[in-house]
């Protein structure tokens, strides 16, 4: 039995980021009914912009990171403002396919501007770390896990206790009725798009440090987050978080086993299939889908 502790640290950090992105997707889905499949692509393009700002324009790093996160928020908000309202009355599947179009536009732009060559972006927090037993833990990993949990808690509290949060929840229940009650629907939706976009920007930066800055890899890491969101039935923030952490940990802990190591990236898929079978057998309804 190999020593799994280093992989556990890695997995918790990765799982925290999966949880973070899963929560970002669930929040947007609950407020607008849009499952944003371009989530990973937005994060990737943000990270690439940060890379360019640091390496070609020689800006200070913190400016670049701030720009990357803001860019994620703005570009998602622009998509939401342009294509959210016209598709609002359509079924969730159509809205999700629309975001696939968005993802293709971003993917094409990225490979055109930055090409598929490998870039590297290491957050300064990676150099800071401490020894925990025999395992070294760096600050980026701590941020990954911490942010995952913190954002889940903050979002849950936000949806429960603030006016905007309550408005988002009521939007999720019935858009027309909510509008009739005087909630500024477009503005609430815009807030959801912006928040989700900012989260995807942050996710992109963290993942490009933890996993590597690679266009296709980052874009499709969204799949692990999707799996977490699906296990949370696109509804429960806490279930999404736990699922995200579990996927991250299992995936990382399979690394030292040579026979199954190459297949470990199938973990999200297997988790999702298991969840769907469980939902099917337990016969529980799935919300708004």
């Amino acid at each position: 039995m190999p020593d799994l502790r280093p992989y556990l640290v890695l997995g918790l950090a990765l799982g925290g980021v999966f949880a973070l992105s899963g929560v970002g997707m669930v929040v947007l889905y609950r407020a607008t009914g849009v499952l944003n499949l371009a989530y990973g692509a937005v994060g990737a393009i943000g990270a690439l912009i940060a890379w360019s700002l640091i390496n070609t324009l020689l800006l200070p790093e913190w400016v670049a990171y701030l720009v990357a996160i803001l860019f994620g928020g703005v570009v998602t908000l622009v998509y939401g403002t342009l294509f959210g309202p016209p598709l609002a009355q359509r079924e969730p599947l159509v809205k999700a396919v629309g975001t696939l179009g968005f993802a293709l536009i971003l993917l094409g732009t990225m490979s055109w501007v930055w090409s598929y060559q490998a870039h590297s972006l290491i957050l300064p927090t990676t150099q800071v770390g401490f020894q925990m037993g025999q395992v070294r833990v760096n600050l980026t990993q701590m941020i990954g896990l911490g942010l995952g949990i913190a954002i889940t808690a903050a979002t849950a509290a936000f949806l429960r206790f603030t006016r905007l949060g309550v408005a988002m929840r009521s939007l999720a229940n019935h858009r027309e009725t909510t509008a009739m009650l005087g909630v500024p629907v477009r503005r609430v939706e815009a807030a959801a798009w912006l928040t989700s976009g900012l989260l995807s920007g942050a996710t992109g930066l963290l993942l490009s440090t933890l996993v590597g800055l690679d266009i296709v890899g980052l874009t499709f890491l969204v799949i692990a987050a999707l799996s977490a969101a699906l296990i949370g039935r696109l509804q429960s923030l806490w279930a999404t978080m736990v699922a995200g952490l579990a996927i991250g940990v299992v995936q990382a802990c399979l690394t030292p086993f040579d026979a199954i190591s190459p297949y470990r990236t199938m973990t999200p898929f297997l988790f999702a299939i298991a969840a769907l079978l469980w939902f099917g057998i337990a016969g529980r309804g799935l919300s708004r889908a």
């Binding site: 499949l37 294509f83 599947l93 094409g108 055109w112 999707l226 769907l276 889908a289």
Partner: protein, 360 residues
């Protein structure tokens, strides 16, 4: 592409039957198009170089894949995002059968199709009872999982064991399926592929015009109404899924025997999304749609490369295309473009007649 090939003898044999067939197809114009297309397709080997003939072969193969997806979306309203991954699965199975058995080529293709059909259906099975969104998500995850697994296992190249991959032979033996003696040359293989494509379109047409098509139409319009009318909704959804996967498997087998064989990097997850984009752009209700989709997917990038433009532009264009289809043109280019041109023509005619009246 091939509807005319099948209709040729029918027209000569029995005029009333042909008339009924023409009515089914919709209009004489479609038939004329099909005839012209058939002639162009058959004359192609004499007109173009080997390179473009290979492109034409892959256009035909991908039109089968596009046809499967178009059937799923247009007839049953299901969206699958793992069709390109299934194509790779089909290729893998065909190669494995090709190296492991001595089945004759047509049987080998058929077996590949059936096995791929079963695998594709198994992937979709847990989600089919839930909504379309869950099916789309599960298939997207399956696509990613299959792509990654494939990079770990590689395509069989005659090695031993279940996976049939030998690292030592990898340099010398391409993962390529033997062609039957009859289809050895590139031209013969191209014509063979066109023939299989024609059969697949015929199979799809028979489904759409038959009992399955009526059941699918009922499900698409209202699932509760279909259940009330006694349609076995789960069975027909599964059947559509199995049919699309079957076709994709056949296409995978053909792809495995085309020039150059298969590489594990030829089937990225992104391509399944791109396929969805071109199928939506081409149009999902007409049999012309998948052909347009395959041309967009396989011919256009080569043309762009030829003109020195970056093919990444296409990805952006396809993304815009998806949004445009979702917002304004649900029936795709095949319906939209002729309608737009007709509108434009009418507008121009009105302008001119207006100008003429004013001049008088």
């Amino acid at each position: 592409m091939s509807l005319a090939d099948e209709s040729g003898p029918a027209v000569a044999a029995a005029i009333p039957r042909a008339r009924a067939w023409v009515e089914r197809v919709g209009s004489i114009r479609s038939v004329a198009f099909a005839v012209v297309l058939g002639i162009v397709v058959l004359a192609l080997p004499a007109l173009v170089s080997t390179f473009w003939l290979q492109i034409a072969t892959s256009v035909a193969i991908y039109s089968i894949v596009a046809l499967g997806l178009a059937l799923l979306i247009g007839r049953v309203g299901l969206i699958s995002l793992n069709q390109i991954a299934l194509l790779a699965v089909g290729g893998w199975i065909a190669l494995r059968l090709g190296f492991g058995t001595s089945l004759p080529y047509p049987l080998l293709l058929l077996a590949t199709g059936v096995i791929t059909g079963v695998i594709g259906t198994l992937i979709g099975l847990p989600a089919l009872r839930l909504s379309g969104l869950y099916l789309a998500l599960i298939t997207l995850m399956a696509a990613a999982a299959i792509t990654l697994a494939l990079q770990a296992t590689n395509f069989p190249n005659g090695g031993s064991g279940f996976l049939g991959y030998s690292g030592t032979a990898a340099g010398s033996v391409a993962a390529s399926l033997r062609r039957p003696a009859l289809l050895e040359s590139n031209t013969a293989f191209y014509l063979g592929v066109v023939g299989v494509t024609a059969l697949m379109f015929l199979l799809a047409a028979l489904h759409v015009w038959g009992k399955a098509g009526r059941a699918w139409a009922a499900i698409r319009q209202s699932q509760p109404a279909a259940i009330a009318a006694g349609v076995n909704v789960t069975l027909y959804k599964l059947w559509a899924f199995a049919l699309a996967s079957f076709m994709t498997g056949i296409a995978g087998g053909l792809l495995a025997s085309s020039a150059g064989g298969l590489t594990t990097y030829g089937f990225p997850t992104q391509d399944s999304i791109t396929l969805l984009a071109v199928v939506l752009m081409g149009g999902i209700y007409s049999f012309w749609g998948p052909i347009v989709a395959a041309l967009l997917l396989k011919l256009l990038p080569e043309l762009l490369k030829n003109w020195g433009l970056p093919p990444d532009l296409l990805t952006i264009l396809f993304g815009i295309g998806v949004l445009q289809v979702m917002l304004t043109a649900p029936a795709g280019l095949v319906v939209q473009v002729p309608r737009d041109f007709a509108n434009l023509g009418r507008m121009v005619a009105r302008r001119f007649s207006g100008a003429a009246e004013q001049a008088e």
